[in-house]
Symmetry: C2
Subunit: 360 residues, 2 copies
C-alpha cells in the first residue's frame, strides 16, 4: 500500500491532458476532471483518478463518445429526459443537473432522467450543484450488477447510490451520499489490496452464504444490500437500490438490472440491451418554492446543531452530520495533497507514457 | 396472543362510527377508516385499527382537530406547502397527496410538504394514490423520536418511513414501503406481547450497547437506523431518516428531530416546538412526463419478471418484488378476515361502550 501524495493541481493538469488526448474539448476535459477529482478530494478514492485509465479504455472500445451531442429528447415544465449520446458521465451528468436546476428556477422543481450515459463519478458532485442556487439537489445513478437482492444468488443491481444535498445557513451543508449496499465496492477493493477479510454481512458467496473473502465477487459472489440479511432489513436496501435503478433507467430508456454495461472495458457486455447506456436521475427543489430560504436555513442550522451536540456512546467524540467526513477530508487534501496508491501511480505513469504527457 | 377475526366491513363500520363520534364528517370518517384499515389489510397491524383508540385520545387532549380547515399556504406550479390545521393525518395526507397529483397533471410533477398534521397511518396508502393516474407516488413522514443516530445515545429521529409506488403493466405494481430503521417499532411491540427477545442489531440500551430486550425503549434505549451499526452502514439509515425528517418538517414548518410530538397522548410533549405538529412530504411524477406510459410499463414488466425469476438461495422459493407480501396479505385478509389480537379487541370493546356503538 505504498502511496505518494500529489497536489490537486498536478492531478488536475495531468487528467485534463488525458481527456483532451482522447478527443474531449478543453471545456469538457476540465469539467470531467473537476467531477473526477471531487471524489479524491472527498476521500472516495475508488471513484477518482484511480478510474482515469478505465474511462480511457471505455473510449478505446468505442463505448465512450468524447464529443457527444447531449440533448433533451422529451420534457414538461418540471421534467426532462436527456440523451447523453454515449458521452462521459462526468460531462453528461452536470449538463443534465443544470437542466433540473433551470426547470426548478421556472416552476419550483426540476427532475431529469438520463439515458445513454456512462459512469458519472460520485453522485455528490452533481447533487451539490444545486446548493449554490438555494436548492436541494438529488442525484441517483444505476451501475453494473454486483448486488444480489434479498434471497437471490444472482447479481441484479449495482451499488446504485443516492445523494441528497441540502443547504444550511451558518452550518456546513448536509450532504448524504450513500451506496444502497452495506458496503461500497471500493471498500472491498481496499481490503483486497491490504489482503484483509471483510466483516460478515458485506458479501455472500455464489450459493448465497455469508462470506468474508473480499475476492468473492470474482467467483460468483455478490455485495449485499444495505441491511445485510432479511432479519436486519436487507429487503429495504434492495428496494432502495431498485428505486434508483427504475428512476435512472426505466424512466429514461437506459439499461437496467442485470443489463447495465460494466465499467471495466474488458468485461463482456450483457447478453441483451433493453435500453441505451447507463442511466441517472437528478432532482432540484428550490427552497423558496416551499418557504423563505432564510427561514429554512435557520431551522436547518438548529437541526444540525442539535444532532451534532447529541450525547455520544462511549468511545466516540461526536455524532456526525452527513457530509462532515467528506468536507473535512477535502479541506485536508486540498492543503496537504491527495494520496495516490502505487498501483494507481503506475497506471497513471503508463497513461502519461502512452499519450506523451509529462508525468510528475 | 389470542385473537379473533373480523371482516373488513365490520371493522370499517365500527371505526367509521368512532371517528364520527369525535366529530368527523361522514366523508372524513370514511376516508380516515379507509387509510387506517389499509394497514390491517396489508399486514402492518401496528398502524391499523390497533391505533384507533390512540387517535381518539389525541382528540381528547385537543391535539387532533376533527374539523380541520386544511389549506395550501404557499405554492409554485410544481410545489405546495399544506397546513393540516391539526387534522387527523389520515385525512390531511390524502388531501395533500391529491394536491401533488393535480400539480403533476399540470407541469409533470408535484411535491407537497405538510405542516401541522398528525400521524397518517401507513405511507403506502398515500403513495399508491398516484398509481391510478399513471404516476409514480412518493410518501414520507416524520414521527416521534425513537431512533438514535449512529454514535448517539439520544433518540433524535422517528422511524421515518419512505414509500415509493411505481406503476407496472401486466405485473402487479411495485410498492416499497419501509421504515428507515433496521426494524419497525411495530415488530418490537409484537415481540413484547410474545415475551420474546429481539435479534441483535435492532436496538441499543441507554448507553448505546446492543441489546435484545424488546422493552429497552422504555428504559432509555433506542431503535437503530437501517444498517444496525457503523460497520454495516447505520450511518446510511441515519442519513435516510434525516432526509425524511428535513423534507417533511424543515421544508414545511413542522416539528423535527427530537421535537416531534409523540403519538401516545399520555406521553409529555417535547420541551420545545420549533414548528407545528408533525410533517409529511408527498411527490407525484407523471410517467408520460418522461416517456410514453405504455413503454414504461412494458419495461417495468420486464424488470419485475427478471427479478422475480432470479435464482434463489437454498431454502427460499422466490425473490420478492417490493409490495408482494403486502398485496398477498391484502387478498387473503379481504377474503378470510382481519385478525385482531385480544388486547386490541378489548380496547375496541371499551371504545364501543364509551361511545355506545354496537360492537361485534
Amino acid at each position: 500500500m505504498a502511496e505518494n501524495k500529489f497536489s490537486y493541481r498536478q492531478l488536475f493538469d495531468f487528467s485534463k491532458a488525458v481527456f483532451q488526448k482522447i478527443g474531449c474539448s478543453e471545456t469538457d476535459a476540465e469539467l470531467a476532471v473537476k467531477v473526477l477529482l471531487s471524489a479524491d478530494l472527498r476521500g472516495i478514492d475508488s471513484h477518482g483518478v484511480a478510474r482515469l485509465s478505465g474511462y480511457v479504455r471505455l473510449h478505446e472500445v468505442k463505448r465512450v463518445n468524447a464529443t457527444p451531442a447531449i440533448q433533451v429528447i422529451h420534457e414538461t415544465p418540471s421534467t426532462a429526459v436527456v440523451d447523453g449520446d454515449r458521452g462521459l458521465g462526468l460531462v453528461v451528468a452536470p449538463w443534465a443537473m443544470q437542466v433540473a436546476i433551470d426547470k426548478a428556477k421556472n416552476v419550483g422543481t426540476g427532475w431529469v432522467s438520463v439515458q445513454n450515459s456512462n459512469h458519472f463519478g460520485i453522485a455528490g458532485y452533481h447533487a451539490m450543484m444545486a446548493l449554490d442556487h438555494d436548492m436541494i439537489g438529488i442525484a441517483l445513478t444505476n451501475a453494473s450488477p454486483l448486488v444480489a437482492p434479498t434471497f437471490s444468488i444472482e447479481r441484479l443491481l449495482g451499488t446504485n447510490p443516492i445523494c441528497v444535498a441540502i443547504p444550511a445557513g451558518d452550518e456546513p451543508t448536509f450532504v448524504a451520499d450513500l451506496a444502497t449496499t452495506t458496503a461500497a465496492n471500493g471498500k472491498l477493493e481496499i481490503l483486497q489490496r491490504k489482503d484483509e477479510t471483510a466483516p460478515a454481512g458485506w458479501i455472500q458467496d455464489k450459493e448465497g452464504n455469508s462470506i468474508t473473502d473480499p475476492h468473492a465477487l470474482k467467483t460468483g459472489g455478490a455485495l449485499l444490500p444495505l441491511g445485510s440479511d432479511r432479519e436486519h432489513g436487507s429487503h429495504k436496501g434492495y428496494a432502495l437500490g431498485a428505486i434508483v435503478d427504475i428512476f435512472s433507467a426505466v424512466l429514461s430508456g437506459a439499461n437496467y438490472g442485470p443489463w447495465v454495461p460494466p465499467f471495466p472495458a474488458y468485461v463482456a457486455m450483457p447478453d441483451e440491451q433493453p435500453g441505451k447506456g447507463i442511466g441517472h436521475f437528478f432532482g432540484a427543489m428550490r427552497i423558496d418554492a416551499f418557504r423563505p430560504a432564510a427561514d429554512f436555513k435557520m431551522h436547518m442550522d438548529k437541526w444540525i446543531k442539535r444532532f451534532r451536540s447529541a450525547k455520544t456512546v462511549e468511545g466516540q467524540s461526536r455524532v456526525l452530520i452527513p457530509g462532515d467526513p467528506e468536507r473535512e477530508m477535502q479541506a485536508e487534501r486540498m492543503k496537504n495533497g491527495i494520496p495516490v496508491m502505487s498501483v494507481v501511480y503506475d497506471d497513471l505513469k503508463s497513461l502519461g507514457e502512452k499519450f506523451e504527457i509529462p508525468f510528475f
